[in-house]
Symmetry: C3
Subunit: 144 residues, 3 copies
Amino acid sequence: MMWQQTIIHIPPKARGFHLITSEVVSQLPQISYYDTGVLELFIQHTSASLTINENADPTVRADFERHFSHLVPEDMPYYTHTYEGSDDMPAHLKASLLGHSLTIPIGSGKLMLGTWQGIYLGEHRNHGGQRSIVATLNGNINQE
Amino acid sequence: MMWQQTIIHIPPKARGFHLITSEVVSQLPQISYYDTGVLELFIQHTSASLTINENADPTVRADFERHFSHLVPEDMPYYTHTYEGSDDMPAHLKASLLGHSLTIPIGSGKLMLGTWQGIYLGEHRNHGGQRSIVATLNGNINQE
Amino acid sequence: MMWQQTIIHIPPKARGFHLITSEVVSQLPQISYYDTGVLELFIQHTSASLTINENADPTVRADFERHFSHLVPEDMPYYTHTYEGSDDMPAHLKASLLGHSLTIPIGSGKLMLGTWQGIYLGEHRNHGGQRSIVATLNGNINQE
Protein backbone atom coordinates (compact mmCIF):
# COMPACT_ATOMS: atom_id res chain seq x y z
CA MET A 1 0.00 0.00 0.00
CA MET A 2 1.53 3.34 -0.90
CA TRP A 3 0.53 6.99 -1.00
CA GLN A 4 2.33 9.54 -3.14
CA GLN A 5 1.49 13.17 -3.69
CA THR A 6 2.93 15.80 -5.97
CA ILE A 7 1.88 19.18 -7.37
CA ILE A 8 1.87 19.53 -11.14
CA HIS A 9 2.29 23.07 -12.47
CA ILE A 10 0.60 23.71 -15.80
CA PRO A 11 2.02 26.73 -17.66
CA PRO A 12 -0.49 29.43 -18.71
CA LYS A 13 -2.88 28.35 -21.44
CA ALA A 14 -5.32 30.24 -23.65
CA ARG A 15 -8.99 30.32 -22.70
CA GLY A 16 -10.59 27.07 -23.83
CA PHE A 17 -10.26 23.33 -23.34
CA HIS A 18 -6.85 21.65 -23.51
CA LEU A 19 -5.91 17.98 -23.72
CA ILE A 20 -3.33 17.53 -20.93
CA THR A 21 -3.14 13.73 -20.60
CA SER A 22 0.50 13.41 -21.60
CA GLU A 23 1.50 16.58 -19.70
CA VAL A 24 0.07 14.97 -16.54
CA VAL A 25 1.18 11.37 -17.08
CA SER A 26 4.76 12.35 -17.98
CA GLN A 27 5.08 13.97 -14.55
CA LEU A 28 3.81 10.85 -12.76
CA PRO A 29 6.16 8.00 -13.74
CA GLN A 30 5.32 6.33 -10.41
CA ILE A 31 1.90 5.30 -11.82
CA SER A 32 3.75 2.28 -13.24
CA TYR A 33 4.51 1.03 -9.69
CA TYR A 34 0.84 0.54 -8.86
CA ASP A 35 -0.86 -2.75 -9.44
CA THR A 36 -4.33 -1.55 -8.38
CA GLY A 37 -5.19 1.92 -7.21
CA VAL A 38 -6.47 5.37 -8.08
CA LEU A 39 -5.03 8.69 -9.19
CA GLU A 40 -6.84 11.75 -7.89
CA LEU A 41 -6.24 15.05 -9.67
CA PHE A 42 -7.44 18.21 -7.92
CA ILE A 43 -7.13 21.69 -9.43
CA GLN A 44 -6.54 24.38 -6.79
CA HIS A 45 -8.45 27.17 -8.55
CA THR A 46 -12.00 28.45 -8.88
CA SER A 47 -11.97 29.54 -12.53
CA ALA A 48 -10.46 26.48 -14.21
CA SER A 49 -11.71 22.88 -14.30
CA LEU A 50 -10.80 19.27 -14.99
CA THR A 51 -12.93 16.92 -17.05
CA ILE A 52 -12.57 13.85 -19.26
CA ASN A 53 -13.57 13.74 -22.90
CA GLU A 54 -12.63 12.77 -26.46
CA ASN A 55 -8.86 12.64 -27.02
CA ALA A 56 -8.74 12.62 -30.82
CA ASP A 57 -10.47 15.37 -32.76
CA PRO A 58 -9.57 18.94 -31.63
CA THR A 59 -12.93 20.22 -32.90
CA VAL A 60 -14.53 18.59 -29.84
CA ARG A 61 -12.51 20.92 -27.58
CA ALA A 62 -13.40 23.93 -29.72
CA ASP A 63 -17.10 23.00 -29.53
CA PHE A 64 -16.77 22.65 -25.75
CA GLU A 65 -15.53 26.24 -25.51
CA ARG A 66 -18.34 27.51 -27.72
CA HIS A 67 -21.05 25.56 -25.93
CA PHE A 68 -19.97 26.37 -22.39
CA SER A 69 -19.70 30.06 -23.30
CA HIS A 70 -23.22 29.82 -24.71
CA LEU A 71 -24.51 28.06 -21.57
CA VAL A 72 -22.82 30.55 -19.24
CA PRO A 73 -22.70 33.87 -21.12
CA GLU A 74 -20.76 36.93 -20.05
CA ASP A 75 -22.50 40.08 -18.80
CA MET A 76 -25.78 38.51 -17.74
CA PRO A 77 -27.89 41.32 -16.21
CA TYR A 78 -28.25 39.36 -12.95
CA TYR A 79 -24.51 39.01 -12.27
CA THR A 80 -23.40 41.15 -9.32
CA HIS A 81 -19.82 39.82 -9.00
CA THR A 82 -18.52 41.90 -11.90
CA TYR A 83 -15.45 43.82 -10.72
CA GLU A 84 -12.93 41.19 -11.87
CA GLY A 85 -13.99 41.43 -15.53
CA SER A 86 -16.67 39.99 -17.80
CA ASP A 87 -14.96 36.61 -18.00
CA ASP A 88 -14.68 36.10 -14.22
CA MET A 89 -18.17 35.17 -13.00
CA PRO A 90 -18.78 32.83 -15.99
CA ALA A 91 -15.41 31.20 -15.20
CA HIS A 92 -16.54 30.43 -11.63
CA LEU A 93 -19.81 28.94 -12.87
CA LYS A 94 -18.14 26.83 -15.57
CA ALA A 95 -15.63 25.52 -13.02
CA SER A 96 -18.46 24.19 -10.82
CA LEU A 97 -20.46 22.82 -13.76
CA LEU A 98 -17.44 20.79 -14.90
CA GLY A 99 -15.78 20.07 -11.58
CA HIS A 100 -12.46 20.46 -9.80
CA SER A 101 -11.25 16.89 -9.53
CA LEU A 102 -10.96 13.58 -11.36
CA THR A 103 -10.51 10.14 -9.82
CA ILE A 104 -9.07 7.74 -12.40
CA PRO A 105 -8.57 4.03 -11.66
CA ILE A 106 -5.14 2.46 -12.08
CA GLY A 107 -4.68 -1.19 -13.11
CA SER A 108 -1.44 -3.03 -13.91
CA GLY A 109 0.63 0.15 -13.76
CA LYS A 110 -1.55 2.20 -16.12
CA LEU A 111 -4.41 4.69 -15.96
CA MET A 112 -7.54 2.78 -16.96
CA LEU A 113 -8.81 5.45 -19.34
CA GLY A 114 -11.05 4.26 -22.17
CA THR A 115 -9.66 4.23 -25.71
CA TRP A 116 -11.12 7.64 -26.56
CA GLN A 117 -10.72 9.30 -23.17
CA GLY A 118 -8.29 12.10 -22.40
CA ILE A 119 -7.89 14.57 -19.54
CA TYR A 120 -9.06 18.12 -20.32
CA LEU A 121 -8.05 21.28 -18.52
CA GLY A 122 -10.77 23.90 -18.89
CA GLU A 123 -9.19 27.35 -18.74
CA HIS A 124 -12.13 29.69 -18.24
CA ARG A 125 -10.33 33.03 -17.78
CA ASN A 126 -9.02 35.10 -20.70
CA HIS A 127 -5.63 35.30 -18.98
CA GLY A 128 -5.60 32.58 -16.36
CA GLY A 129 -1.92 32.23 -15.55
CA GLN A 130 -0.22 29.09 -14.25
CA ARG A 131 -2.52 26.42 -12.79
CA SER A 132 -1.66 23.95 -10.01
CA ILE A 133 -3.00 20.40 -9.86
CA VAL A 134 -2.47 18.21 -6.78
CA ALA A 135 -1.90 14.61 -7.90
CA THR A 136 -2.50 11.99 -5.18
CA LEU A 137 -1.72 8.32 -5.88
CA ASN A 138 -2.92 5.50 -3.66
CA GLY A 139 -2.84 1.78 -4.25
CA ASN A 140 -1.13 -1.57 -4.04
CA ILE A 141 2.45 -1.61 -5.22
CA ASN A 142 3.30 -4.42 -7.62
CA GLN A 143 5.64 -7.07 -6.29
CA GLU A 144 7.82 -7.71 -9.36
CA MET B 1 -6.78 -2.90 4.02
CA MET B 2 -7.84 -4.32 0.68
CA TRP B 3 -8.11 -3.21 -2.94
CA GLN B 4 -10.34 -4.95 -5.44
CA GLN B 5 -11.05 -3.98 -9.02
CA THR B 6 -13.41 -5.35 -11.60
CA ILE B 7 -14.96 -4.21 -14.88
CA ILE B 8 -18.74 -4.21 -15.08
CA HIS B 9 -20.22 -4.52 -18.57
CA ILE B 10 -23.59 -2.85 -19.02
CA PRO B 11 -25.57 -4.17 -22.01
CA PRO B 12 -26.75 -1.58 -24.58
CA LYS B 13 -29.46 0.75 -23.31
CA ALA B 14 -31.76 3.24 -25.01
CA ARG B 15 -30.85 6.91 -24.99
CA GLY B 16 -31.82 8.39 -21.66
CA PHE B 17 -31.18 7.94 -17.96
CA HIS B 18 -31.26 4.47 -16.38
CA LEU B 19 -31.31 3.40 -12.74
CA ILE B 20 -28.48 0.84 -12.50
CA THR B 21 -27.99 0.52 -8.72
CA SER B 22 -28.95 -3.15 -8.49
CA GLU B 23 -27.20 -4.02 -11.76
CA VAL B 24 -23.98 -2.62 -10.24
CA VAL B 25 -24.36 -3.85 -6.66
CA SER B 26 -25.27 -7.41 -7.72
CA GLN B 27 -21.90 -7.64 -9.49
CA LEU B 28 -20.00 -6.46 -6.41
CA PRO B 29 -20.83 -8.92 -3.59
CA GLN B 30 -17.45 -8.10 -2.05
CA ILE B 31 -18.83 -4.73 -0.85
CA SER B 32 -20.11 -6.69 2.17
CA TYR B 33 -16.52 -7.47 3.24
CA TYR B 34 -15.67 -3.80 3.82
CA ASP B 35 -16.12 -2.22 7.19
CA THR B 36 -15.14 1.30 6.07
CA GLY B 37 -14.12 2.29 2.58
CA VAL B 38 -15.15 3.67 -0.77
CA LEU B 39 -16.39 2.34 -4.10
CA GLU B 40 -15.24 4.26 -7.13
CA LEU B 41 -17.15 3.76 -10.39
CA PHE B 42 -15.55 5.07 -13.57
CA ILE B 43 -17.20 4.87 -16.99
CA GLN B 44 -14.67 4.39 -19.81
CA HIS B 45 -16.56 6.38 -22.47
CA THR B 46 -16.98 9.98 -23.61
CA SER B 47 -20.66 9.95 -24.54
CA ALA B 48 -22.19 8.31 -21.46
CA SER B 49 -22.14 9.44 -17.83
CA LEU B 50 -22.67 8.41 -14.23
CA THR B 51 -24.64 10.43 -11.72
CA ILE B 52 -26.71 9.96 -8.58
CA ASN B 53 -30.36 10.91 -8.28
CA GLU B 54 -33.85 9.91 -7.21
CA ASN B 55 -34.40 6.15 -7.18
CA ALA B 56 -38.18 5.99 -7.00
CA ASP B 57 -40.24 7.79 -9.61
CA PRO B 58 -39.27 7.02 -13.26
CA THR B 59 -40.61 10.42 -14.36
CA VAL B 60 -37.50 11.98 -12.80
CA ARG B 61 -35.33 10.05 -15.28
CA ALA B 62 -37.61 11.04 -18.17
CA ASP B 63 -37.40 14.70 -17.13
CA PHE B 64 -33.60 14.39 -16.94
CA GLU B 65 -33.50 13.27 -20.58
CA ARG B 66 -35.78 16.10 -21.66
CA HIS B 67 -33.95 18.78 -19.70
CA PHE B 68 -30.43 17.75 -20.69
CA SER B 69 -31.50 17.59 -24.35
CA HIS B 70 -32.92 21.10 -23.93
CA LEU B 71 -29.71 22.35 -22.26
CA VAL B 72 -27.49 20.76 -24.91
CA PRO B 73 -29.50 20.73 -28.14
CA GLU B 74 -28.56 18.91 -31.30
CA ASP B 75 -27.44 20.76 -34.44
CA MET B 76 -26.35 24.00 -32.80
CA PRO B 77 -24.96 26.21 -35.60
CA TYR B 78 -21.61 26.55 -33.79
CA TYR B 79 -20.89 22.79 -33.60
CA THR B 80 -18.03 21.77 -35.88
CA HIS B 81 -17.62 18.17 -34.69
CA THR B 82 -20.61 16.93 -36.69
CA TYR B 83 -19.49 13.94 -38.77
CA GLU B 84 -20.51 11.31 -36.18
CA GLY B 85 -24.18 12.35 -36.23
CA SER B 86 -26.41 14.95 -34.59
CA ASP B 87 -26.45 13.13 -31.27
CA ASP B 88 -22.65 12.87 -30.94
CA MET B 89 -21.41 16.34 -29.93
CA PRO B 90 -24.30 16.83 -27.46
CA ALA B 91 -23.42 13.42 -25.96
CA HIS B 92 -19.83 14.55 -25.31
CA LEU B 93 -21.04 17.76 -23.66
CA LYS B 94 -23.63 15.99 -21.48
CA ALA B 95 -21.01 13.47 -20.37
CA SER B 96 -18.78 16.26 -19.06
CA LEU B 97 -21.67 18.19 -17.47
CA LEU B 98 -22.70 15.10 -15.50
CA GLY B 99 -19.32 13.44 -15.00
CA HIS B 100 -17.55 10.14 -15.57
CA SER B 101 -17.12 8.83 -12.06
CA LEU B 102 -18.80 8.42 -8.69
CA THR B 103 -17.13 7.86 -5.34
CA ILE B 104 -19.58 6.31 -2.89
CA PRO B 105 -18.68 5.69 0.78
CA ILE B 106 -19.01 2.19 2.25
CA GLY B 107 -19.87 1.63 5.92
CA SER B 108 -20.57 -1.68 7.68
CA GLY B 109 -20.55 -3.65 4.43
CA LYS B 110 -23.00 -1.42 2.55
CA LEU B 111 -22.98 1.52 0.16
CA MET B 112 -23.93 4.57 2.20
CA LEU B 113 -26.42 5.91 -0.32
CA GLY B 114 -29.21 8.09 1.07
CA THR B 115 -32.74 6.66 1.20
CA TRP B 116 -33.73 8.23 -2.11
CA GLN B 117 -30.42 7.92 -3.94
CA GLY B 118 -29.75 5.60 -6.85
CA ILE B 119 -27.00 5.31 -9.45
CA TYR B 120 -27.92 6.58 -12.91
CA LEU B 121 -26.26 5.69 -16.18
CA GLY B 122 -26.76 8.51 -18.68
CA GLU B 123 -26.75 7.04 -22.19
CA HIS B 124 -26.37 10.06 -24.45
CA ARG B 125 -26.06 8.37 -27.87
CA ASN B 126 -29.03 7.12 -29.86
CA HIS B 127 -27.31 3.74 -30.25
CA GLY B 128 -24.57 3.64 -27.64
CA GLY B 129 -23.72 -0.04 -27.43
CA GLN B 130 -22.28 -1.83 -24.42
CA ARG B 131 -20.72 0.40 -21.73
CA SER B 132 -17.83 -0.52 -19.42
CA ILE B 133 -17.54 0.70 -15.83
CA VAL B 134 -14.36 0.13 -13.79
CA ALA B 135 -15.33 -0.57 -10.16
CA THR B 136 -12.52 -0.05 -7.64
CA LEU B 137 -13.04 -0.95 -3.98
CA ASN B 138 -10.71 0.17 -1.23
CA GLY B 139 -11.13 -0.05 2.54
CA ASN B 140 -10.77 -1.87 5.80
CA ILE B 141 -11.94 -5.46 5.77
CA ASN B 142 -14.22 -6.41 8.65
CA GLN B 143 -12.77 -8.80 11.18
CA GLU B 144 -15.79 -10.99 11.86
CA MET C 1 -2.73 3.82 6.98
CA MET C 2 -6.01 4.78 8.57
CA TRP C 3 -9.68 5.05 7.63
CA GLN C 4 -12.12 7.20 9.55
CA GLN C 5 -15.74 7.91 8.76
CA THR C 6 -18.29 10.21 10.31
CA ILE C 7 -21.61 11.77 9.36
CA ILE C 8 -21.84 15.55 9.49
CA HIS C 9 -25.33 16.97 10.00
CA ILE C 10 -25.86 20.40 8.46
CA PRO C 11 -28.82 22.29 9.98
CA PRO C 12 -31.49 23.53 7.54
CA LYS C 13 -30.35 26.34 5.25
CA ALA C 14 -32.17 28.70 2.92
CA ARG C 15 -32.30 27.92 -0.78
CA GLY C 16 -29.03 28.99 -2.36
CA PHE C 17 -25.31 28.36 -2.07
CA HIS C 18 -23.61 28.33 1.34
CA LEU C 19 -19.93 28.37 2.25
CA ILE C 20 -19.55 25.47 4.70
CA THR C 21 -15.77 24.99 4.84
CA SER C 22 -15.37 25.83 8.53
CA GLU C 23 -18.60 24.01 9.47
CA VAL C 24 -17.11 20.86 7.89
CA VAL C 25 -13.48 21.23 8.99
CA SER C 26 -14.40 22.01 12.61
CA GLN C 27 -16.14 18.62 12.79
CA LEU C 28 -13.10 16.78 11.42
CA PRO C 29 -10.20 17.55 13.80
CA GLN C 30 -8.64 14.21 12.80
CA ILE C 31 -7.59 15.72 9.43
CA SER C 32 -4.51 16.96 11.31
CA TYR C 33 -3.38 13.35 11.90
CA TYR C 34 -2.95 12.64 8.20
CA ASP C 35 0.34 13.18 6.49
CA THR C 36 -0.91 12.31 2.99
CA GLY C 37 -4.44 11.30 2.12
CA VAL C 38 -7.85 12.35 0.92
CA LEU C 39 -11.12 13.51 2.43
CA GLU C 40 -14.24 12.40 0.61
CA LEU C 41 -17.47 14.26 1.30
CA PHE C 42 -20.70 12.67 0.06
CA ILE C 43 -24.12 14.29 0.45
CA GLN C 44 -26.89 11.72 0.96
CA HIS C 45 -29.64 13.65 -0.85
CA THR C 46 -30.94 14.18 -4.37
CA SER C 47 -31.89 17.85 -4.18
CA ALA C 48 -28.76 19.36 -2.63
CA SER C 49 -25.18 19.39 -3.90
CA LEU C 50 -21.54 19.91 -3.00
CA THR C 51 -19.13 21.97 -5.06
CA ILE C 52 -15.99 24.06 -4.64
CA ASN C 53 -15.76 27.73 -5.48
CA GLU C 54 -14.67 31.20 -4.40
CA ASN C 55 -14.50 31.61 -0.63
CA ALA C 56 -14.34 35.39 -0.34
CA ASP C 57 -17.04 37.51 -1.96
CA PRO C 58 -20.63 36.46 -1.09
CA THR C 59 -21.89 37.91 -4.38
CA VAL C 60 -20.38 34.87 -6.11
CA ARG C 61 -22.77 32.61 -4.16
CA ALA C 62 -25.72 34.89 -4.94
CA ASP C 63 -24.83 34.82 -8.65
CA PHE C 64 -24.60 31.01 -8.47
CA GLU C 65 -28.18 30.85 -7.22
CA ARG C 66 -29.40 33.20 -9.93
CA HIS C 67 -27.54 31.48 -12.73
CA PHE C 68 -28.46 27.92 -11.79
CA SER C 69 -32.11 28.95 -11.44
CA HIS C 70 -31.86 30.50 -14.91
CA LEU C 71 -30.20 27.36 -16.35
CA VAL C 72 -32.76 25.05 -14.73
CA PRO C 73 -36.01 27.04 -14.50
CA GLU C 74 -39.09 25.99 -12.57
CA ASP C 75 -42.28 24.92 -14.34
CA MET C 76 -40.78 23.95 -17.68
CA PRO C 77 -43.66 22.61 -19.81
CA TYR C 78 -41.82 19.30 -20.35
CA TYR C 79 -41.48 18.44 -16.64
CA THR C 80 -43.69 15.54 -15.63
CA HIS C 81 -42.35 15.01 -12.08
CA THR C 82 -44.33 17.93 -10.65
CA TYR C 83 -46.27 16.68 -7.62
CA GLU C 84 -43.57 17.64 -5.07
CA GLY C 85 -43.70 21.35 -5.98
CA SER C 86 -42.19 23.69 -8.57
CA ASP C 87 -38.79 23.68 -6.88
CA ASP C 88 -38.43 19.88 -6.77
CA MET C 89 -37.56 18.77 -10.32
CA PRO C 90 -35.12 21.71 -10.82
CA ALA C 91 -33.49 20.72 -7.50
CA HIS C 92 -32.86 17.17 -8.77
CA LEU C 93 -31.35 18.50 -12.01
CA LYS C 94 -29.13 21.06 -10.24
CA ALA C 95 -27.88 18.36 -7.86
CA SER C 96 -26.67 16.23 -10.77
CA LEU C 97 -25.19 19.20 -12.67
CA LEU C 98 -23.10 20.15 -9.63
CA GLY C 99 -22.48 16.74 -8.10
CA HIS C 100 -22.92 14.83 -4.85
CA SER C 101 -19.35 14.39 -3.70
CA LEU C 102 -15.98 16.09 -3.36
CA THR C 103 -12.59 14.43 -3.01
CA ILE C 104 -10.10 16.85 -1.48
CA PRO C 105 -6.41 15.97 -1.04
CA ILE C 106 -4.80 16.18 2.39
CA GLY C 107 -1.12 17.06 2.84
CA SER C 108 0.78 17.65 6.10
CA GLY C 109 -2.40 17.53 8.17
CA LYS C 110 -4.38 20.04 6.14
CA LEU C 111 -6.89 20.10 3.30
CA MET C 112 -4.98 21.18 0.19
CA LEU C 113 -7.57 23.69 -0.95
CA GLY C 114 -6.28 26.55 -3.08
CA THR C 115 -6.13 30.04 -1.55
CA TRP C 116 -9.52 31.07 -2.93
CA GLN C 117 -11.30 27.72 -2.67
CA GLY C 118 -14.11 26.95 -0.25
CA ILE C 119 -16.67 24.17 0.06
CA TYR C 120 -20.20 25.12 -1.05
CA LEU C 121 -23.41 23.38 -0.08
CA GLY C 122 -26.03 23.96 -2.78
CA GLU C 123 -29.48 23.86 -1.18
CA HIS C 124 -31.86 23.57 -4.11
CA ARG C 125 -35.18 23.15 -2.30
CA ASN C 126 -37.16 26.07 -0.86
CA HIS C 127 -37.39 24.23 2.48
CA GLY C 128 -34.75 21.51 2.36
CA GLY C 129 -34.40 20.54 6.00
CA GLN C 130 -31.29 19.07 7.62
CA ARG C 131 -28.69 17.62 5.23
CA SER C 132 -26.32 14.72 5.96
CA ILE C 133 -22.79 14.50 4.59
CA VAL C 134 -20.70 11.34 4.96
CA ALA C 135 -17.05 12.29 5.55
CA THR C 136 -14.52 9.52 4.83
CA LEU C 137 -10.84 10.05 5.59
CA ASN C 138 -8.11 7.79 4.27
CA GLY C 139 -4.36 8.24 4.35
CA ASN C 140 -1.02 7.84 6.01
CA ILE C 141 -0.89 8.88 9.64
CA ASN C 142 2.00 11.15 10.57
CA GLN C 143 4.64 9.63 12.82
CA GLU C 144 5.40 12.60 15.08
